[in-house]
């Protein structure tokens, strides 16, 4: 796996608009962004309505994922090109999610919606009509996803990478600074976690930094032991999907999991250890 196998630039995307074997998919938390204009031919996936179970806190199951992709006209043989706002947070989350259900022909657009907009590239409000397919998903690849007991067991043993902002990591904020701070759970971080904010992996235009700079960031500056397994987390698992993409897909580390329960789960658990302040 190399960068060119998983990441494409806007020129590549433009050249593949209308390609019958490539389905461009926008994934945003703010789904109104798609409605205001999207890459021509792109379909929309709502990270919450489409990808989360409406009752339990979990993903839609295999059958639900199959129904979603079939309805959006995505077949098993299609290459799926994902992009979105928030520096591709939710697109990276969807990328990880597609891989979780075994769709390997998936790409991320470098820079996502932001770079596309800042470059003044074409946006369309036309919603494409795609023919329904009969998509077959795999069982979840649990080598990519960490659940809470595994995270607690990993304290002091594996690399734990907290990709939230320093203020969230130290406990001064409970959420990113563009959201209200009224959540009820405790603040802080998982003991032994290193704080490498997701933003350090990205340039100002939302593109990923070069591989050598990324390797230096995690291996030298953050002192991650690349020989150990790694779990990344944030608040709800989408920023950490961005970092999972960097570590697993760009740098090719073999055993990296995303903890999608993240701080909204861990910070609400009774009896688990929490650290405040800087990393120790």
């Amino acid at each position: 796996m190399s960068r060119s196998d998983v990441l494409v630039d806007a020129d590549w995307a433009e050249a593949h608009i209308g390609d019958p074997h490539v389905v461009i998919v926008e994934v945003d938390e703010d789904t109104s962004a798609y409605d205001k204009g999207h890459i021509p031919g792109a379909v929309k996936i709502d990270w919450k309505k489409d990808l989360q179970d409406p009752v339990r806190r979990d993903f839609v199951d295999k059958t639900g994922f199959e129904a979603l992709l079939s309805e959006r006209g995505i077949s098993n043989d299609d290459t799926v090109l994902l992009y979105g706002g928030n520096n591709n947070w939710f697109a990276a989350y969807a990328y990880w999610y597609f891989r979780l259900y075994g769709h390997d022909k998936v790409l991320l657009l470098d820079g996502g919606r932001k770079k596309w907009e800042l470059d003044s590239r074409e946006l369309s409000t036309d919603v494409p009509q795609r023919t329904r397919t009969s998509y077959t998903a795999q069982e979840q690849d649990r080598s990519l996803r960490a659940l809470r007991d595994e995270v607690i067991d990993a304290i002091g043993k594996r690399n734990l990478v907290d990709v939230r902002s320093p203020d969230e990591f130290t406990g001064r904020l409970l959420a990113p600074a563009h959201l209200p701070q009224e959540q009820a759970q405790r603040a802080g971080h998982i003991p032994t976690a290193r704080n490498v904010p997701w933003s350090k992996a990205a340039n100002e235009d939302g593109t990923f930094r070069p591989d050598d700079e990324l390797r230096h960031l995690y291996q030298d500056e953050a002192a991650l032991d690349f020989a150990k397994d790694t779990i990344a987390y944030c608040r709800i698992g989408e920023r950490s999907a961005h970092t999972w993409f960097v570590l697993h897909e760009l740098l090719g580390l073999p055993n990296v999991k995303n903890y999608d329960g993240s701080w909204t789960e861990y910070g609400s658990l009774v009896g688990v250890p929490i650290e405040l302040g800087e990393a120790r």
Binding site: E117, L179, Q181, E238
Partner: protein, 101 residues
């Protein structure tokens, strides 16, 4: 306003915020008197440390819920347009920063 995710509020921001107990930084971005509705506002800490980013609303608006302190606000817009302002935030206060690019 979305409260259970890490992304932008649906449709950007437009209505004025009541600060409550929070340290709110908000404003609007304009160019030659017109709202800049395509672009991004970034809140940065010392040494350009990234804190948060939001897409501009249809009225050019942005809003952050920051920790108290000194921040840099940077605006990016198509055509290589950029602007920067220093801003102070404190609990219980709405700090308004209007930016022209």
């Amino acid at each position: 306003m979305t409260t259970d995710g890490c992304g932008a509020p649906a449709g950007g921001v437009s209505a004025p915020a009541a600060a409550g107990g929070q340290a709110v930084v908000e404003g609007k971005v304009t160019r030659e008197g017109a709202a800049v509705s395509t672009g991004y506002a970034r809140l940065l800490g010392t040494d350009d440390e990234f804190v948060a980013e939001v897409p501009l609303g249809s009225d050019g608006g942005f809003r952050f819920f920051a920790a108290p302190g000194s921040w840099t606000l940077r605006v990016l817009a198509p055509g290589g347009l950029r602007a920067e302002r220093s801003v102070e935030a404190d609990y219980g206060r709405v700090t308004t920063v209007n930016v022209t690019v």
